[in-house]
Structure formats: structure tokens, C-alpha cells
Symmetry: C2
Subunit: 260 residues, 2 copies
């Protein structure tokens, strides 16, 4: 869209010019701010693709590196995201995720007016390693199911999930349809229900395979969330690791003091 390019470059050049007089901020920050303005005022719409980097940097009048630095910053803030070799896109508003509710992906995404989808990438039986054997209190020679799923919000892939389960507890699990709610399958077929969990989260970057599966470049910032889920008897039901494209979510938590 040549019209969009014009609007962007006109505004960004304007801001750069103003800044030259008064400001001592680096160009990439000024460019970042200008883009942030354009996104906020919806000159560039949600989910819209930006013009190509070369068109942008030439019409704006900064080097391609500087432009990319500004865009990477907006990516780190969750305002933009990239799809590998496909370009830059304005991110939709973050969906609220409450890990404390044990609420499923389809539930909370749907409730907020978005369309969820889950897709199984791979399912197999893998040997336990040091880490998983400890979590499951499983014997060293045992095996675990490993299910890898990719999940979408409004058809944008936002998270890859690795789920480990004990085949002794869930025999023939892989014969079921795992494209929906896993906890529903565990409950209906096996009568097992997760009642509590230990959650660990920290920001990181998406590495190799996961980056590819989410169609992003391998250095994309991410949010790592892992959960050890247990049933009422405190036996581990599943262990899962979620690699979130972090511009997609915002975490919420309702805290109540229980201890004194």
C-alpha cells in the first residue's frame, strides 16, 4: 500500500526533524516513538503488515540497521511481531492469561472474543531423562508420552506446548484426539483431574525448532511457562512447557494471603 508508506514516512520524517532541533535521543528511539504513535493512533491498524524494510528506511532517511533496531524494540515491547521472512506486523492487543485458574486455552481465549485453535505437531514415547524422572518420580528406564502442540489465536500461532504424561497412568492416550482440551480427555477417559500445579515462568527467547514452528526468527523474545500439574492425591498428572510468543499474552493473577 503506497498510501500507508506515505503516511508513515511523512510522520516519521517529521518527528525526526523536530527531534534534531530539540532532542538528544538516538534516532532509533525517535523512530520507535514515531511508530508507537502511528500504532496508537491506528494509522497502522492491528494485524496490518508494514511496508518493506527497504522502502521504509529509504523514505524515512535512516539506515536499514537503525530502522531494524527501532522495529526490534517495538517487537520486544510486544507492539510489533515478525513472521519469518514475511515481514513486520502490528500485534493485536495481548490476551489475558490467568495461570492460577487452571483454565484451558480454548476457554480463556474464547471468552475474550478470539478464536483459539490447537494442532498436534508430534506425539511420541520418549525415554525419561534426569529432569522428567525427578518430576514424575519415574524409574530411569521408563518412558513418557511427549506431545507437542501448536496453538493459535485468531489463526496466528502464538505458543508451542510440550506435554509429558505417564503412559502407565494414561494407557493408549495417543489414540485419542488431542486437538482439543487435554484435561477434558484425562478427566472423561481416565477420571483424572488436575487440582493444583506448580508454575514457573520467565522471559527468554525462542530457540531453533520452536521458533521455526511459530514461523519466527530464532532470536524472537518469548515467555517460558512450565507447569507441574497434580491431582488431588498429589500425584503428577502432567508436566508441560509452554513457549509463548510473548506479545500475545499478558499475565493476570488474583492473590489472596493465606498464611499469616
Amino acid at each position: 500500500m503506497s498510501k500507508l508508506l506515505n503516511e508513515i514516512s511523512r510522520y516519521v520524517r517529521q518527528v525526526l526533524e523536530d527531534a534534531e532541533i530539540s532532542n538528544k535521543a538516538p534516532s532509533y528511539l525517535i523512530v520507535r516513538n514515531a511508530f508507537a504513535d502511528l500504532i496508537a493512533s491506528e494509522v497502522i491498524s492491528r494485524d496490518e503488515k508494514l511496508p518493506s524494510e527497504r522502502l521504509l528506511h529509504e523514505t524515512i532517511g535512516v539506515s536499514r540497521s537503525t530502522l531494524r533496531e527501532a522495529l526490534a524494540l517495538l517487537e520486544a515491547e510486544g507492539l510489533l511481531h515478525r513472521m519469518d521472512r514475511r515481514g513486520w506486523f502490528v500485534s493485536a492487543a495481548r490476551v489475558e492469561y490467568e495461570p492460577a485458574t487452571l483454565e484451558g486455552f480454548h476457554t480463556f481465549v474464547g471468552r475474550q472474543g478470539h478464536i483459539p485453535r490447537t494442532e498436534v505437531l508430534d506425539q511420541q514415547l520418549v525415554p525419561v531423562n534426569e529432569h522428567t524422572s525427578q518430576i514424575f518420580s519415574a524409574p530411569r528406564r521408563g518412558k513418557l508420552y511427549l506431545i507437542k502442540r501448536r496453538r493459535y489465536i485468531d489463526e496466528r500461532p502464538v505458543v508451542v506446548e510440550h506435554i509429558y504424561l505417564d503412559p502407565r497412568r494414561f494407557p493408549k492416550l495417543l489414540e485419542h484426539n488431542l486437538n482439543g482440551s487435554l484435561s477434558a480427555v484425562l478427566e472423561k477417559t481416565y477420571g483424572v483431574r488436575t487440582t493444583n500445579a506448580d508454575v514457573t515462568m520467565y522471559p527468554s527467547v525462542l530457540s531453533g525448532a520452536v521458533a521455526t514452528q511459530l514461523h519466527v526468527s530464532p532470536s524472537t523474545p518469548s515467555l517460558y511457562i512450565s507447569r507441574v500439574c497434580r491431582s488431588k492425591d498429589q500425584v503428577v498428572t502432567e508436566y508441560n512447557e509452554n513457549f509463548w510468543h510473548y506479545s500475545a499474552i499478558k499475565l493476570k493473577l488474583a492473590v489472596v494471603r493465606t498464611r499469616d
Copy 2:
């Protein structure tokens, strides 16, 4: 330390060479992996400063940009951090933070064997804005205390905190010593106790003033955590925003299903 430089460059060049034969991964990823190895095997120790970028990129044999890209990646993963214009440092292991416990900074940092410190940067009375007036249900013309504090783990500045409180509820608050636990002051002096809170968190980047206060460059990745704290009667006791240098922490959460 010329010895450190030698060890680093020897290993990284070795890995790059090996990769040239077999691998198709980009150089900056190979360099990243090599540094990650060196950190994991403690060839470079926790908290140690890396040799200068120029020394590194020359002896390793990649351009300075490529080297910086690798280092920035490690920063985004929390393995390295920068102090503005002071260089790159290996980050200490993340401290575990459990926002759900309402436990104070000094408590959880101390319990994990680290030394916490809090420092008031600024304290003032500010007019309410649209956002804070809504949170406090405060009248439009009212004022709020705004306290800005910087907190350290082992003398490394890791978080800047903005705390809003209602002066009608806590008169003369600013006359107290606020370099310790604020909740202790609220409880002992005013008999007010926070019993529950709503927490929102998402990764972002540190902007202007906060970046300066943490001695990092303005594009450093961060974790934003805000909390609306309430007492038993559901009246807001304080509203605070925390800007974390995110390599410093790892979030933990114990979840129990309450509904259904």
C-alpha cells in the same frame, strides 16, 4: 584479563570452525552457543565482566555487529546483562519470586541467600490521573503519594518500583523511613494490612528514566509487574508498578483449583 580473552576466543573460534564444516546455523547463533557453553562450564564466572567488544570480535574473527547480536541474544535470555557503558557481565542465577505470597522483597531475597537493599529515589505528592483515580476510586482533584524506589540484589540494581498511596489513608507517610519494608510501616503505624492483590505482568523493555536508574541502556528487556493491593475490606491500600531487570528473577506460582 588476557587469560580470559584467550580462553574465550580459542573456544569460540574452534566452535565456529567446526560449524563451518557441518552446520548451516548463522554465526551469531554459533557465537551465542559458544558463550552459553563457556558460561555453563564456568570458564566465565558469575558476575564476571567480559573483555571489551573490540578485543572479542577481533580475536574471534566476526564483525562487531555480529558479536553484539550474539551478546544481545544472551541478554534476552537472561544469561548476560549490560551496565550502561560499563560492559557485559555474566548474570547470577535468577532469584525466585512468588508474587502470590505477598512476601516482601527483603524476605524472599534474603531467604535465598542474597543481600537485598532498598533505596528511595524520590517521594512526592502527585495529582491523580485517569488511571490512578480509577484504581483508588479517588476524586479527580485529589492527590496521591508517589514513592519511587530502587532495589538491589547483592548490590546489583534490579528493579525500580513506583508506589502510589492515598494520603487520606496514610497521613504523614513520607515522614517515615521508607528504605525498608513498606508493608511493615503501613501495618505498624496505620494498622493497615494488605490481604489480597490483583497482579498483571508482561515482558517489555525499560524506558528512559527507569533505564537510567538501573544503569542500563534504554532498550534493555524487562518484566513489568503491577499490583493493586487491597485490605480485607477490599479498599485499595497501595498500587505499585515494578520494572524488573528481568534476568534477575524467575516467577513461581503455586496454583490450587478453587472453583468447581
